[in-house]
């Protein structure tokens, strides 16, 4: 076995007591394509942050364990150290300057100065930065890097207006142009590409690997991983789960390893519940322009009285759906509520139709942090339906206060009084205030996004129980969007998985982890995979 290029040995990392990486081992050989896969929060980004010596790691006390390159421990304290060690990264967000040519982008801050008499004079007086640049040589270097990727485009073209697929290649060309480049990290490189562009990229990756460059390939697309990688490492909840030779495994197995068996929150009742046949909400071809959570043609039906879960990986567009319907981000498509068409991009009208929303952005649009609990609770209802008002539009503070007191008791909000400012409450109690505000509207349909984000385990359970109670006792229809599959499985009747802006499929809460995993990576036709796999 050849020597490892890079090795993570028992690496652990915690942020203020919260362990995000536990004794992870990972190695990569020269010229190998090593895929890295895991759900959100599995620890992929933390690993890459450690590899690149990002400030976020070192400003929070560093990490435990060791990172070795070519058998020797290395101490990477900054992205520039990483660069010096021959590690390059292609980001999900392109780091390209649109007004520059391809060559200028490839050579950014590594420009080649001209060597001539004038430059020597200028640099001895004014310093090295006053040397003029050798654009010819820079263009030649850029040409070489582009040729290695089989790119025929002229190196002096402006990046502005290039197709996205080309930009990705320019990013890679910039990394491989750096001298001594040994390891390249590609973070979801195919997410923004069309199918044919992705195909080209995979081809280029293979040819780079043949040239001896090791590649860490982070992707959620299982088929691509199977297609291109030599080995695959699966992470889950900050722990190393498995490293397999790709030829000995299958998409099914990887999906299963990725999701695993979640035991944190168990389901109390059986999964099968008789659902109403009536359609409460029908969504057709919904597009939402929510940055980094775009929905691109969602078709979905919500039945009366059910709890519908919406799951999927981050950035795939699950959060866009509720935000789009509520008019927080521009949306188009058709949304029908109880047989009546809902106007899009009109938050007030949607709220009037007794649709309530608990946003994932609790501190941003969920709460008025400098206002007391009682104003927060009645705010939407007062604005939209004109309740809690006296003559001349004055607030009925007595009614508000009484209602808030009742909510504090019903929802068990831990506070000094209903006059406490919501900014002072803990995350769980803030969330309860949000729910209280939504309930004050007496909604028929409730959207809840990421209800347990950033709140502790005990409070999580309370929130989920509350949602379950609303559904069972009041027959409220709830659409719950969450990144945590476990909590979706614990209370939802059906779970829709969103992948790349569309509904990949709908699963029962007791479906197997492999089914969830495959669907999250966009493989909807599970049977075809099963036939060839290790079911």
């Amino acid at each position: 076995m050849s020597q490892n290029l890079l090795e993570f040995k028992n690496v652990s990392k915690s942020y203020s007591g919260n362990q995000v990486l536990k004794n992870v081992n990972f190695d990569i050989r020269p010229g190998e394509i090593h895929a890295l896969i895991g759900e959100n929060g599995a620890g992929k980004s933390t690993m890459m942050n450690i590899l690149f010596g990002m400030p976020v790691i070192h400003s929070t006390g560093g990490f435990e364990g060791s990172v070795e390159m070519e058998g020797k421990p290395v101490n990477i304290m900054s992205p520039f150290d990483a660069m010096a060690h021959g590690i390059g990264m292609v980001h999900q967000e392109f780091m390209l300057i649109p007004g520059f040519t391809i060559a200028e982008n490839i050579k950014i801050n590594r420009e080649i100065p001209k060597e001539n008499a004038l430059n020597n004079v200028m640099s001895s007086i004014f310093g090295k930065r006053m040397k003029t640049l050798d654009f010819k040589k820079m263009n030649q270097d850029a040409r070489v890097a582009l040729d290695r990727l089989d790119m025929t485009i002229e190196e002096y073209t402006l990046v502005q207006g290039l197709p996205i697929g080309f930009m990705q290649f320019v990013e890679i060309a910039r990394e491989i142009d750096k001298t001594g480049m040994k390891l390249l990290v590609l973070d979801e490189p195919t997410a923004v590409l069309t199918e044919s562009e992705a195909e080209r990229l995979l081809k280029a990756m293979r040819s780079l690997a043949v040239q001896g460059i090791a590649i860490v390939f982070i992707s959620h697309r299982l088929d691509e991983i199977i297609n291109v990688s030599d080995r695959v490492t699966v992470l889950r909840d900050g722990e190393w789960v498995a490293t397999k030779d790709t030829k000995d495994t299958s998409a099914i197995e990887i999906a299963e390893l990725m999701i695993g068996r979640k035991v944190s929150i168990e389901r109390e009742e059986g999964a099968e519940r008789e659902l109403s046949k009536d359609i409460m909400l029908s969504i057709k071809d919904l597009h939402v322009a929510m940055p980094s959570e775009r929905a691109r043609g969602v078709d979905l039906e919500v039945r009366k009285g059910e709890i519908l879960g919406i799951g999927g990986l981050a950035g795939q567009g699950k959060l866009g759906i509720a935000n789009g319907i509520m008019g927080i981000y521009p949306a188009k498509g058709e949304v029908v509520l109880d047989g009546k068409k809902l106007p899009l991009n009109n938050t007030k009208q949607v709220l009037k139709e007794s649709v309530a929303y608990v946003s994932e952005d609790r501190k941003g649009i969920g709460l008025l942090l400098d206002e007391p609990i009682d104003s927060n609770i009645v705010f939407t209802d007062m604005q939209v339906n004109g309740n809690f008002l006296k003559a001349f539009g004055l607030q009925d503070s007595k009614a508000i206060s009484e209602h808030a007191k009742q909510m504090v008791i019903d929802l068990d909000i831990r506070c000094t009084s209903e006059k406490q400012h919501t900014g002072r409450l803990s995350g769980g109690n803030q969330q309860k205030v949000c729910v209280g505000r939504a309930l004050t509207q007496k909604p028929n349909l409730l959207f809840v996004s990421e209800p347990t984000r950033g709140i502790d385990i005990g409070a999580k359970k309370l929130i989920l129980d509350l949602l379950l109670k609303l559904s069972r006792e009041q027959g409220m229809t709830i659409v719950m969007t969450s990144s945590e599959l476990a909590e979706l499985c614990s209370i939802c009747d059906r779970i829709a998985i969103i992948c790349e802006g569309k509904v990949a499929g709908i699963l029962a809460p007791n479906a197997s982890p492999a089914e969830f995993g495959l669907m999250m990576s966009g493989i909807t036709d599970t049977d075809s995979v099963k036939e060839g796999g290790v079911s």
Binding site: F80, I97, F100, I108, N109, T132, L133, F135, Y156, P330
Partner: protein
């Protein structure tokens, strides 16, 4: 076919939108020239050229900050104050001639570097609001200057109480002081002393027609050589063929006019153009030199870094460029050029308003470069030259338009003010609108 048409009309719309400010000014000047029937062409040329060379360096100092993403540097007022203070010193000691001027440049340099450094620091602390910060810092600098010139000079720094520049009583500099007369202009030797007035401008005076002929020929040769080089090396950016031929035709036209006026004696055009004053050769060369230096600067590592920083601070930073330092250097260069530009400006004017000369420098220079087609994110030497000519032509013709509108030349002053602030407001508004539109397009629905 329709698609093609739509493309062309879109292109034309974009061209108009990109150049709307310039176009409006061309129309305004053309109308003004028409309205002022009495205005001789030579008089118009004289007035415009005088202001062109007077303000050239001040406007030129705006290019590098725009490149570095700092926007329009209203803060060149701070540089102008460095120039004024250098002149206070050299004129206190009655320096004269080109030597005195050079010494003033030298004294202004460290002052401008220091002021530029501090201004740059401020811009780094007010990221995203540099232009507002620049406006405010120019007011603040005026306050500091006031305290210095009124109370520190004479109050702390001992001066001769009966010096011509000092307020009687011995504290503070007078509201105006003169640069000293040019030796050729002294009429009453008992009252006037030789000084720095026109010291640079009159060092070498070149016949206007000779200069025009020379510049037109040089430009034509440059255009053709660049075109031919471009044929062989595709990485040299080429102007469209139509534009190339228009440019060549304009050059040939100028050559024809200049040659005709020079070599055909007795023609009406020749007699008219002979009335144009000689141009200040050294000042012109200094401005040309700084134009070339600015272009040279863009081709250096530092210039490239400035462009990177200007386009995206974030990407520049992750690429390892010291963003803050680069921005400070850009501000310092701008401030130094403004200080020197102010000295050149004042040697032409001849009198210094100790507390007022610097005031309009920022606004007028910014308006001029905008008229030339610059935006808050893009500026070039070409914008400076076109802007200087058009903006000052507007200044010259606005009294005629004032008379045309209301029989009152006094309206001209309002008209000028309206045009200056109008062009700044309009350009910034247009820019803000475009940024917003680009952001909206980016987040638009699929």
């Amino acid at each position: 076919m329709t698609n093609n048409n739509a493309n062309t009309s879109k292109k034309i719309t974009n061209f108009l939108l990109d150049n709307i400010v310039t176009i409006v000014f061309v129309l305004f000047v053309a109308f003004g020239f028409y309205a002022a029937d009495g205005l001789a062409p030579s008089a118009l040329i004289n007035e415009v050229l005088m202001r062109f060379f007077r303000n050239g360096l001040l406007v030129l100092s705006l290019i590098i900050p725009v490149m570095a993403g700092l926007g329009l540097n209203f803060g060149i007022v701070v540089g102008a104050l460095a120039g004024v203070n250098a002149l206070i010193l050299t004129r206190y000691f009655e320096m004269a001639g080109m030597g005195g001027l050079m010494l003033s440049f030298l004294v202004a340099l460290p002052l401008a570097l220091l002021f530029g450094y501090l201004t740059g620091k401020l811009y780094n602390k007010t990221r995203g609001q540099e232009m507002i910060a620049a406006l405010i810092v120019s007011f603040f600098a005026e306050g500091v200057h006031l305290v210095f010139a009124l109370f520190v000079i004479g109050g702390i720094i001992p001066v001769y109480a009966n010096h011509r520049m000092i307020i009687p009583g011995g504290m503070g500099v007078r509201a105006t002081f003169d640069m000293g007369q040019h030796p050729d202009l002294i009429r009453m030797p008992e009252l006037e002393t030789a000084g720095m007035r026109l010291a640079m401008d009159w060092l070498w005076r070149v016949n206007f027609l000779h200069a025009a002929l020379f510049i037109a020929v040089a430009t034509l040769i440059y255009l053709i050589v660049r075109r031919m080089l471009g044929k062989r090396n595709p990485s040299i950016a080429q102007m469209p063929t139509v534009v190339f031929f228009i440019n060549c035709a304009v050059c040939v036209g100028f050559i024809a006019i200049a040659a005709f006026s020079l070599f055909v004696p007795g023609s009406a055009m020749g007699m008219e153009l002979a009335n144009v004053n000689p141009i200040p050769g050294v000042t012109a060369l200094v401005i040309l030199g700084f134009c070339l230096l600015t272009t040279y600067f863009t081709k250096t590592k530092l210039g490239q870094d400035c462009r990177s920083v200007g386009q995206s601070q974030h990407i520049a930073k992750v690429s390892g460029i010291d963003v803050d330092r680069t921005r400070i250097i850009a501000t310092m260069i701008s401030t130094v050029l403004a200080a020197w530009g102010m000295i050149i400006f004042l040697q032409e004017v001849g009198t210094v308003g100790t507390y007022t000369s610097h005031r309009m420098v920022g606004m007028f220079s910014v308006a001029a470069i905008l008229v030339g087609g610059a935006t808050t994110t893009k500026a070039s030497v070409k914008n400076v030259i076109v802007g200087l000519i058009l903006f000052h032509a507007m200044f010259v013709v606005s009294p005629a338009i004032g008379r045309y509108i209301s029989n009152d030349e006094g309206v001209a002053e309002y008209l000028r003010t309206f045009m200056v602030y109008g062009v700044i407001g309009f350009s910034l508004g247009l820019y803000a609108w475009r940024t917003l539109k680009a952001a909206r397009d980016k987040d638009a629905l699929d």
